[in-house]
Every structure is written in structure tokens, then in C-alpha cells.
């Protein structure tokens, strides 16, 4: 194709791309703008910029309790789903057993299952075993729902691992256990970090599953959602802007770690569900 016709075709494409970006990001930009608007969510365009909403936010104790709850749940979920995800990924990568294809699909199912199904089924199970709903049940919900994320990410890392290295380790006298800790895990380090970051981010802003499983203590997204029912305040805009900043930072770090770890051939499956 000649450069001329490409540039002619390029112009409408450029406009189209710009419109798509505006459509996606304009609401986000408005949200951030309002968090600095002295007149609150009314009145566009904002005339007086202020940090007042952020000051109010930092003095808001219940909100910070919710942040702390979310952090606890996210940290626990990372530990739980990485542990179980690593075991599942190892089974998928190394073991051959009857029903492996089915196992693989079942492990990955939560990626495509609506959160409402996951949440509802977990709730029914917890009711069935007579468990009290609490942050702990939220942690269980996130941890299990996100195993699939950990599994896909770690499975990709294992596929990239040179098996000869593990054989070399055994050959040099290391037991399988020593080989796992001294060769396999260090080689998976980047995949573990990447999966951990992604799971942390996903857990931090999870609503659907959390909604079914939470007890008295709210996580941050549920706290925000609860407040919205009483009307939008710019304080919510402020906290949303902060969440957005942290999420973007984590996703950027995740992406960097992951591209370093996996190279260009990272499976598309790993995109955010």
C-alpha cells in the first residue's frame, strides 16, 4: 500500500480513535475535575479549584476503616490465590491426569463467570455450612475467585521456564523440594509479582462478590456505594480519583513486570477479565 493512500485513510481513523478515547475517558476526567471543584458536583465548568474535599476525606474515619478493610482483604486474597494458583498451574504444566482438560476449564471459569454468580454461589455455600459473614468470608470469596487469574499468569510463567534447569538441579543432587525452592520459584518471581499486583488491584475494587459475602465491616467500594445512595458528594470524587491513581500505578507496574517476564508472546487470556 502506498504512503499516500495510507495517510488518506489515516485521518478518519485518527478522528475515530480520538472519539473512542473521549468516550471512555471523559467521564473519568470529569470525575477528577469535580474532586477539585469548590462548588461540588453542580456547576460546570468548575470555576474555583480547591483541595477542601481531599481535606475532608482525610478526616473521615469510617472511610479509612473501609480502606483498611479492603487492604486486609486484598493482601489475604493475594496470598491465598497465589498459593492455590501456583499449585493449579503446576498441575496443569506438569502432571497428566484424567480430566485435565476439564480441570483446566474449571479453574479458568471464574474469569468469565459473572461476579454475581460467584458471589451468590459462595453465599449459598457459606449459609449451608453455617458460617458467619465477615471480612473473612469476603477474603475467602476474593481469594477463590481470583485463583484463575493467578493460575493463568503462573501457568504462562511455567511454560516459559526451561525444564532443563530443573533437571540440572536434580542432576546436581538437589531433591525435588530443594529444586522447587531454589530453581522453580526464583524463575517464577516475575510472574508471581505480576499476578500478585493484578490480584491486589482486582480485589481492591471488587463489588459483586463482596456484596454477597460482606458482614458488618465494609470494604472501600461498598462504603462508597453505600454513601452514593445518600447522594453524590465531591468527597466521593476525591476518593475515586485517589483509587484511580493507585490502580493505574499498580497496573502500570504489573504491565512492566509482566512484559519483562513474558516477552511479547504473553497469552491474550491474561488480559484483565
Amino acid at each position: 500500500m502506498s504512503g499516500h493512500s495510507r495517510s488518506r485513510r489515516g485521518a478518519p481513523l485518527l478522528v475515530y480513535a480520538a472519539l473512542v478515547f473521549v468516550f471512555i475517558y471523559l467521564p473519568v476526567i470529569v470525575l477528577i475535575l469535580y474532586s477539585f471543584n469548590r462548588d461540588g458536583v453542580g456547576g460546570f465548568p468548575p470555576r474555583h479549584l480547591t483541595l477542601a474535599w481531599y481535606r475532608q476525606l482525610f478526616a473521615d474515619a469510617p472511610l479509612w476503616d473501609a480502606v483498611l478493610n479492603s487492604l486486609k482483604v486484598a493482601a489475604g486474597s493475594v496470598a491465598l490465590s497465589l498459593t492455590l494458583g501456583l499449585l493449579a498451574a503446576l498441575a496443569l504444566d506438569r502432571a497428566s491426569f484424567p480430566g485435565k482438560a476439564l480441570f483446566r476449564r474449571l479453574v479458568l471459569l471464574p474469569l468469565i463467570l459473572p461476579g454475581i454468580i460467584t458471589g451468590l454461589s459462595l453465599l449459598m455455600f457459606l449459609v449451608f455450612v453455617g458460617a458467619q459473614l465477615s471480612l473473612f468470608t469476603v477474603f475467602l470469596g476474593h481469594g477463590t475467585a481470583l485463583i484463575s487469574v493467578a493460575t493463568t499468569e503462573l501457568f504462562a510463567g511455567l511454560q516459559k521456564l526451561d525444564r532443563a534447569q530443573e533437571e540440572a538441579s536434580l542432576d546436581l543432587g538437589a531433591t525435588p523440594w530443594q529444586t522447587f525452592w531454589r530453581v522453580t520459584v526464583p524463575n517464577l518471581k516475575l510472574s508471581l509479582i505480576a499476578a500478585g499486583l493484578l490480584i491486589f488491584t482486582l480485589s481492591m475494587d471488587e463489588i459483586a462478590v463482596t456484596f454477597f459475602l460482606t458482614g458488618r465491616d465494609n470494604t472501600l467500594p461498598l462504603e462508597i456505594w453505600g454513601r452514593l445512595r445518600r447522594g453524590i458528594t465531591p468527597e466521593i470524587n476525591a476518593v475515586s480519583a485517589l483509587i484511580l491513581a493507585v490502580s493505574v500505578a499498580l497496573i502500570v507496574i504489573w504491565h512492566r513486570v509482566r512484559t519483562r517476564g513474558l516477552g511479547a508472546d504473553a497469552p491474550e487470556l491474561l488480559e484483565r477479565p
Binding site: 532443563a164 533437571e167 540440572a168 538441579s169 536434580l170 542432576d171 546436581l172 531454589r182 530453581v183 524463575n187
Partner: protein, 355 residues
């Protein structure tokens, strides 16, 4: 058969490794069939074969990464094939070295000693010694990825040798190196083996490399041992047409023996061998240009027309046509030739081989 006789070792040397009737099957595919092979203490044995001949599988059976479907492997009176790889006093130099990328050269070399909980002071001494032996002390702090192929090769050697194995397995260790480096590493490898006296089992598909390095060659073909003998023996007396072709260049003359005469096309000579169809291997350098017209006993002559001449320095290779039969003749360099010539060879050099 001559290959069986050649397989038996010099009785003076102690047997280190005994492979007894080993077979390996992957599903329906039979990769190794009834392999029996002894390796002597201190020997350098090359396991030679084309890709797919099963040589790497045999190596992996000895290392412990695969289990034999049938047969046993013994090392110094101990059943080896039932032990996991980490309990065998065998170490491997892998084809692509398989160095640990997250460890420095020094940590790579120390790995085997460290996992066996060797005392730290002893580790230091032995690692230094191993690094010195393969001449890579100066790179001790580097990561393997920063090293050239030849240097990585040395690290892999040091990492294996530091454990003082009874037997060192080398899986095509030189195949990733360029030609010059390869020659240099070959000579270093041979010197190193002599110096430390460890038994080497060396897998290669390169017959020249096998001939240059090893005390004996075990030639594998389609999962079975074709012939086991020293390089000189195997070159001078190939048991089969396959061996004759695989080890060095040769002319295969097909014909028959009838009434005490061997006849292959237009070439004939007296033979006491039992009659019937026969194949003879005649090395190109066994054929000479006949300088006189007198026939001597024990020689055969033929006339052939020159088709091609390839000059290669000290010698040249001629392709000649003897009544439709193409033969290769290696003669010392003598300048351009053309037309028909008379050639002569000693009939003792025409080795009768199996199909």
C-alpha cells in the same frame, strides 16, 4: 559377530557402568531396543548416532531423567536405574548448558555442593579449583547470560565436575559453538578428561568429533547398537554398510562372490569368503592410481574415467566412473587429471560388510 566381540572391554580395566538389555518405549514408539554396553573406569566413550537414533534417551536413562522400560543399569555393583537422579554419582553437561540464570557463575558452580550441605569453607575451595580448571575464575561474579557460548560451556563443565562425579555425561556439549571454538574445546575437553581421569559418556551426532575425542565409539542406529569399538577399529573394520558410510567416507561395492571370485560390476578379485551376495566397503584412500602395468598378487585393478576432481590442499578427491559404477578415490595432490586411468587397491582393504 564382530560388533559383539568389540563390545567386550579389556579385562584389565574395571567396569564402571553396565547397561544390561535396556529398552525404552514412549507409548507405542520404541526408542531403544535391547542395549547392552559396558563402560570402563576412566574411559571416554562417544555415543554416536543420527538425530532420533536414541542416543540422548540413553543418556537420560543413565542420568535418571527417564526410566527404562526393560533392562537394568549398574554402576560399580550398585543398581543405578532405581535411584532418583539426585542420588546418582553422575553429573550432566546439558546441550544448552541449562545454567541457572538467577545465580552468578560462582553460585552456579557451588549449587551442587550447597544443596548437599557441604561445609562453606570446603565449598569455597572446591569452587575455586573448578573455576580454575576450566579457566573462568575472572567471570565468577557474572551472570551466565553475560557470557559467550564458550564461556557458558565452561561454567556448565565446572558446575558438573565440582561434584566429583564417577561418570560425566555430556549431551552434545559442543554443538552450539562455532567451528573454531569447537575444535579448541574438543582439545581442552580431551586434555581435561585425561587430567582428572573421570569417565566421560559423550553424546554426539558428529562422527569426526567422536573419532577425534573418544577411546571407543558406540554407534546407535534406530535405537539399537550397530557397532561398539575404538575409532580406528570401527573405521578399518566396519561391521555394516551403515557404519561404513556413517564413520568416514566410503565406496560401497555391491555384487556377489562366486567360485572364489568377488565381482562387483566391472571390478573383480579372488576371494575365499563364503559365496553369495556381498557388499564391500572400500575407503577412497585405499584406492591408488596404478603407476605400473604389472598386476601384483593381492591387488585388484580397474579402469575408470574421471568425472570430477575436488582439490582440498594436501589431497584431492576424484570421482571416477567405472562402467557405470561411481567411485570416490582420494589421492595426494597431483594437479589436474582427465580421461581414463587405471586404479589399483589391495583386496585386503575391501571389507565385506553386512547390509
Amino acid at each position: 559377530m564382530s560388533s559383539v566381540a568389540a563390545n567386550s572391554l579389556d579385562p584389565a580395566s574395571a567396569v564402571l557402568l553396565e547397561i544390561r538389555g535396556v529398552a525404552k518405549r514412549f507409548g507405542a514408539r520404541e526408542v531403544l531396543r535391547n542395549i547392552s554396553l559396558n563402560i570402563a573406569e576412566g574411559e571416554f566413550l562417544a555415543l554416536l548416532g543420527e538425530s532420533g537414533s536414541g542416543k540422548t534417551t540413553l543418556l537420560r536413562l543413565v542420568a535418571g531423567f527417564e526410566e527404562p522400560t526393560a533392562g537394568e543399569i549398574w554402576m560399580s555393583g550398585e543398581r543405578l536405574d532405581l535411584l532418583p537422579p539426585y542420588r546418582r554419582r553422575v553429573n550432566t553437561v546439558f546441550q544448552n548448558y541449562a545454567l541457572f540464570p538467577h545465580l552468578s557463575v560462582r553460585e552456579n558452580v557451588a549449587y551442587g555442593l550447597r544443596v548437599k550441605k557441604t561445609a562453606a569453607t570446603e565449598i569455597d575451595g572446591r569452587v575455586d579449583e573448578a573455576l580454575r580448571m576450566v579457566k573462568i575464575e575472572e567471570f565468577a561474579a557474572w551472570r551466565p547470560s553475560k557470557l559467550s557460548g564458550g564461556q557458558q560451556q565452561r561454567v556448565a563443565l565446572a558446575r558438573a565436575l565440582v561434584n566429583r562425579p564417577r561418570l560425566l555425561l555430556l549431551d552434545e556439549p559442543l554443538s552450539a559453538l562455532d567451528a573454531n571454538l569447537r575444535k579448541q574445546m574438543q582439545s581442552e575437553l580431551k586434555a581435561l578428561q585425561r587430567e582428572i581421569g573421570i569417565t566421560f559418556l559423550f553424546v554426539t551426532h558428529d562422527q569426526e568429533e567422536a573419532m577425534a575425542l573418544s577411546d571407543r565409539i558406540a554407534l546407535l542406529r534406530d535405537g539399537a547398537l550397530e557397532q561398539v569399538a575404538s575409532a580406528r577399529e570401527i573405521y578399518a573394520h566396519p561391521a555394516t554398510a551403515y557404519t561404513a558410510r556413517f564413520i568416514g567416507q566410503t565406496n560401497l561395492l555391491r555384487g556377489e562372490i562366486l567360485d572364489g571370485m568377488a565381482r562387483c560390476g566391472a571390478i573383480a578379485w579372488p576371494s575365499d569368503d563364503p559365496g553369495g551376495a556381498a557388499i564391500f566397503s572400500l575407503r577412497p584412500e585405499a584406492i591408488r592410481l596404478a603407476s605400473d602395468a604389472v598386476a601384483r598378487p593381492g591387488t585388484a585393478r580397474f579402469r575408470a574415467a574421471l568425472e570430477q576432481q575436488f582439490f582440498s590442499g594436501a589431497s584431492e578427491l576424484l570421482e571416477v566412473n567405472c562402467s557405470g559404477q561411481l567411485l570416490r578415490v582420494r589421492v595426494s595432490a597431483r594437479g589436474p587429471l582427465s580421461g581414463e586411468h587405471e586404479f589399483v587397491f589391495s583386496t585386503a582393504d575391501a571389507i565385506r560388510v553386512q547390509e
